[in-house]
């Protein structure tokens, strides 16, 4: 359940960002996070953690949207890029195992969708 530790960071960042906004009565509707598949995050667990960690807080009725990014590797020998499927870290062209991961390690908050009171 590393989703809880990760989610605690998500909630902390969201709170900080919301506090920085100059608008009044800001309310978070939705937050989009991008998660590379190498992190082995179970989306349902992350959402469950989000529900628990935001309960009775300002973020309590906001939605967590999770965008999963596939693992993509580039072969260090022939330069071929392909998606890693079934944890088979082997080049799809020359079958070399010398791969550099170029996608799939993402772990960031992309945006916050908020509503606020107009002056």
């Amino acid at each position: 359940m590393h989703e809880f530790g990760i989610c605690q960071n998500i909630v902390n960042i969201a709170r900080e960002e919301l506090n920085k906004l100059p608008q009044k009565n800001v309310h978070l509707i939705k937050m989009r996070v991008v998660v590379g598949k190498l992190h082995a995050i179970v989306n349902e667990n992350l959402k469950m953690a989000y529900g628990i960690l935001t309960r009775d807080t300002k973020l309590h009725d906001s939605e967590l949207e999770i965008i999963s990014e596939p693992v993509v590797a580039e072969c260090k020998e022939c330069g071929y890029r392909n998606q890693v499927k079934g944890n088979f870290f082997v080049c799809g062209q020359c079958e070399s195992g010398m791969l550099e991961i170029i996608k799939g390690k993402e772990l960031y908050i992309e945006n916050l969708e908020v509503e606020y009171e107009e002056d």
């Binding site: 359940m1 590393h2 530790g5 990760i6 902390n12 190498l38 082995a40 944890n87 969708e113 107009e118």
Partner: protein, 218 residues
């Protein structure tokens, strides 16, 4: 009410990463290598340290940070070795975090050390996820587990600089298929060196120690 979208692109583990960077910088300044041992509960991490430390302490100055959810039993097991051992109790958390490790590292006699072993909490997922400022991660896997662990936990075997296969003295008594396990490791990370050891029978320790001696700080 007015709606708007705010793009932020914030790394989720940025705060952790900053603590890890501080530790890494500090270790670099003292020319200390720090190894982060990651493996399941019972895979033999402490047993490995029990046999590796007396051997290595003759050549390099070592210390250990012991991470456990509860109890100081592992630190007690290593207490007689005469090297600095500190126990970090995470109180339920399934991994060591960068801030706690930073504090523990700063409390070590850094001017008198070359090598710090961190025994992370027994778990293959969470400790891989959280950078603690180590020089390298070491994946520890025992022959009493399934040989397909590398396929189930590929992130660890991708992030680690080496894998240690422990308890190999038990191979004759187990259905564990060694060749298959090595194939799975290679499938996930063909560049990963694998050290096959037995703590009980003192097998394979020289090769592992020699590999550690030449590691350099980042």
């Amino acid at each position: 009410m007015k709606k708007t979208e705010i793009k932020i692109y914030k790394e989720i583990l940025k705060a952790e990463g900053e603590w890890a960077a501080k530790t890494r910088e500090c270790l670099k300044n003292h020319n200390i290598v720090m190894l982060n041992l990651i493996g399941s509960p019972g895979c033999g991490k402490t047993a490995l340290l029990e046999v590796l430390l007396p051997r290595m302490a003759q050549r390099v100055r070592c210390a250990v940070l012991e991470g456990d959810v509860e109890t100081a039993r592992d630190a007690e097991r290593l207490g007689h070795l005469g090297i600095p051992v500190s126990q970090i109790i995470t109180q339920g958390t399934c991994h060591l975090n960068a801030q706690i490790v930073n504090k523990a590292v700063l409390e070590l006699p850094l001017d008198k050390l070359d090598l710090v072993f961190v025994e992370n909490v027994g778990n293959l997922i969470c400790p891989t996820e959280f950078d603690i400022g180590e020089t390298s991660k070491l994946a520890v896997l025992s022959v009493t587990e399934g040989e397909d662990k590398p396929l189930k936990y590929p992130f660890l075997f991708r992030e680690a600089r080496a894998a240690v296969l422990t308890k190999i003295d038990l191979l004759p008594y187990l259905p564990f298929e060694r060749a298959k396990c090595l194939d799975y490791i290679a499938q996930v990370n063909s560049e990963l060196p694998v050290f096959e050891i037995s703590a009980l029978a003192s097998q394979g320790l020289t090769a592992l120690a020699d590999w550690i001696y030449v590691l350099e700080t980042e």
